[in-house]
Symmetry: D2
Subunit: 338 residues, 4 copies
């Protein structure tokens, strides 16, 4: 950590800052510049709060050198982590996973129709929302527990692990019972109580990036879950909010090499939510695979225009299958199966 | 609502879209253009889901004319709402309110010292975080229930209503018991289960704008609480995330006239979190008052550099008092007391 | 175009708006809603200025249905445009083009060393900046005319068409003489005098997307050049400005399918400037190809750490060659040569 | 400047980086951490290019401590600069200036009508665009030279200094002859050739912040003009591009105290372009004054709905006068005349 003090800082203030840091077991080196004095802090700086140091009116600037995360940090865990979701491995050099299914579970029959179609098309897991985060209180809010139970029945019948979004800590037990991969949605990426609760269980978590969260905040959200003792985190990019209006969000594929460089966790991509438009899903899926993603999560519906939510971004099963087939050929070029 | 269909849409598809809308009791008018056919939908369009209509491959575009919110909409409630927080009125032509206090409640003694100082400086309410949303799992997470109890004791002793952030629905009862104005933080603005829970009680809610949420999404979050039956919502702008690096967030003061135009709810401003820098708080506070805000929420700490969180943005009590004094003079010019 | 008027608009105001539009030869249809009156305007709405109509205090909202561009619009030019750069075709079903070279031309010898290396590695064109847009007035500003002449000599010797950025209209003649593909940089995307000047010549133009420009504004910038009579425009995405700090810009690959849907122009990708980090260039290059790009423009330097500008994002020639080889395999999967 | 090297950097690489810097006359101090080695560079670091240092594959990170600007830097020029525009002082403790007039000069008669009205309302200068940067090539592009001449005639008759936007260096002589304060528009803030040209003359320049430019880039643009020898730069905030859709841009008023802290230059605010909506102009004008701005630039038109550009954001003269009157009262509170 680098702390910059104004040149006019009184010696006793400087002393106070230094001794405060040294008391915590870190060491401090001073570099005198023409207009500033700079202090280099060496040791475990994750225990320091830069905002507090910056509160000193003589401090001009505080900057971290080392990343603020430990458990997710590749520096301390050089090998790729492979997360097993009900037997399906995700990450490392394993085959890419494809997760398909409806945005929201509407009815048991509807779910089974889509589930069979995604299985036939080659999906590795089934997705489906039972609790839905909707911008409007007047929109369909999900089928709740019944939706999860139908998902579980589909798993029994088809052998596909299931993925669903948990929005609230009072549903932890229910999700721990029914779901194989618990999704934290973009809007809850910094719902810290939810992250802590997921740290207490031993189920894999699919952690979506928040709409306006930096990669560092995203890794810190993973760190929350991991700090609780649950190491099974899969990251999922789903687009960030920008000024652009032709797409719902801007899909940031550069996170793929960055996440692999900074962390040891698997990363998958959600082009359906990122773009909000099924016509863009195939090209963004192929791009994600070429960039080194560990998998895809795609919305599939047999009748997108009859869907109860997000129909505009859902693929029909036949197009979903096309994406998988083309994706397989791309995966082969970058040395992966799918 | 305006629906644009491609010219090559087959008549039976067009018919299907129209009859689907008419079945819901709305009426449809067609305008034939050279390259598109445009349909104008008249009636209560809040019951339509534009994403579903957009799922039809022949639909080029769907745009709302009427706002998607009702209860918060000034169109249907022309008079300003005044929200009473334990007797202190907020909004309309009432005096501006000033809420001051520490970012987080650290100890009972510390809290009381600051609370007395903010009261003497002229604050109308006391703020203090007992549960803290922290980016790092290794940072101080708040004093929890004890913190809320100390806040309640400060209220008894000093007569200031208290404001604190609730992060999780399992604390609803506790907050309903102790707190006068329950804050929803920026990171939870779209935690829909939390919003629904707050709709079931009859306490005022301070709803902060999310870091990357549009004004419309923010009003929709208020609508969630109001749709549940709790009309007592105060909005709070605290800066949005942009590319700028010299400030923590970009304070968007244009929301003040916009919120007053679109809704009937009070709006207050939080320059401390918006800027992240106490040196910018005074000028942004005065600007907010000049722009027509109904109040301010400011972080105050007797020793910012000893604070356990967000010291860099906390004012010392003497500077807090200065802001109030200058603010009063500005308020007078725009016809308000403070 | 859809114009929404407030219900309380006096009939004479409504009449004035309608007759003003009809006088321009367009026709107007009225849809009466409960709270608004909506007017649908049919005809060539590119001649209407929505901001002027919105200036009427009774107008609530104005929205375009048809795109504001004509010459770039695929609706009116269904076939892909193929642009020929000194004999090298770009776009359509032609082979993907790879443009490589240094950020800035430093010396004749240095340029020739890199130029030979990119040619050997398989590049189709040579890039090199002679005039450099630098954030600081104290940074190297480019070799100017000499730089362009060295580029032209490299073309003679190696047979590679050359690409260079023009920053100012007083250099039009020079660029028209020496350069095969004239680049408009991101910072000049809305330098309208520059665009108009480029509309008067008959050389291909490489139009980079501005850091904070929407896709629509970008197409409108192409329209400026095309409206002047120069149809030879190649679009180039180079990242947009967002809140993310780990990359210099956020590469928006979803523009590839969108540009192909909305326009008939070729689009190439610049992962070097987008990411600002050579370690991210390979994966973003492969992703761009998988998404359907018509080519890549990459920075190459034989000694990135000795470069005079942007070394951090430059590939060494051997890595550049690797990108081309892997890229070729991806291109084959999506049905293209390279 | 702080340079972070990976621990595994070979000693000869470390040596190379250090000696490269020392050769330029700067000195280097090493701080050895557990996972990184950190180098503090002391001296005039404006001559170093951080991107080049970052190009070294062993360099993890490069951060500046000192600001990259000198002439605009308050550290080296503690006193406020006051810029005189044809006798009207701007900045320091001088009275606030109000600049009013039409977005674009449409006709001589129209201009004179508005000019008289803004003078009567109390404006200090007249604004009017003769060359207009328009997103569409099919929109009105300005009256050109004739427009500037009418502006100059209005100055003769009314005694108001005139402000107009220059878009291209080939018009430098014309602007130097006719205009008192030459405006650089947001889209040209990083048109470096334009900035350099303006550095060669001795006329005041009004430098608008780019839509997506950081405060640091904006100050560096001022530095370009000042580095050429023209110290007369007035900065103007006019809103930045964000995800919000209810306003055209997001007005960032926190720049006012920041610009005053980092530089010695005057700063004025343009609420008309920032918001794009005349209904928001008054409150944002008052907020700007309360925050400490040195002036306002406002669009005024006697018939906004007949304007040839940007009518939606223009005030009628009577409302412009109201803004000035209320503004004066706010200015008094913050200790300024107007």
């Amino acid at each position: 950590m680098i702390i910059t003090l104004k040149k006019q800082a009184p010696p006793e203030e400087v002393e106070r800052v230094i001794s405060g840091i040294e008391k915590k077991g870190l060491s401090v080196t001073v570099i005198e510049g023409a207009n500033y004095n700079v202090f280099g802090v060496v040791g475990d700086t994750t225990i320091l709060d830069e905002k507090l140091i910056a509160a000193n009116p003589y401090v001009d600037n505080v900057q971290r050198i080392a990343a603020p995360y430990k458990k997710a940090n590749r520096l301390f865990h050089p090998a790729d982590s492979v997360i097993h979701v009900a037997g399906v491995p995700v990450g490392g050099q394993e085959d890419l996973v494809v997760i398909g299914g409806p945005c929201s579970v509407e009815s048991k029959e509807g779910l089974f129709t889509i589930a069979k179609a995604v299985k036939e098309a080659g999906a590795d897991m089934l997705r489906g929302g039972a609790y839905k985060p909707r911008t409007s209180p007047y929109a369909f809010q999900g089928q709740g527990t019944a939706g999860l139970q139908w998902m579980a029945e589909a798993r029994e019948q088809l052998g596909l692990p299931i993925v669903s979004e948990m929005m609230s800590i009072d549903k932890l037990e229910e999700f721990n019972e029914y779901v194989d991969l618990i999704q934290v949605g973009a809007r809850n990426m910094q719902n810290f109580d939810l992250l802590k609760a997921l740290g207490t269980i031993r189920k894999p978590v699919l952690l979506k990036r928040g709409l306006a969260n930096t990669i560092e905040e995203w890794i810190m959200a993973a760190e929350y879950i991991m700090a609780g003792g649950n190491d099974q985190v899969i990251l999922c990019e789903r687009g960030i909010r920008t000024f652009e209006k032709y797409t719902r969000n801007t899909l940031d594929l550069s996170v793929i090499p960055i996440i692999k460089q900074k962390t040891h966790l698997p990363i998958i991509i959600d082009p359906s939510h990122a773009t909000g438009d099924w016509r863009l899903v195939e090209s963004m899926s192929l791009a994600a695979i070429a960039a080194g993603a560990d998998g895809l999560i795609l919305e599939v519906h047999d009748c997108p225009e009859c869907a109860w939510s997000d129909g505009a971004q859902s693929l029909k099963p036949e197009r979903f299958q096309e994406v998988i087939e083309k994706g397989r050929a791309i995966a082969k070029v970058v040395g992966r199966g799918m």
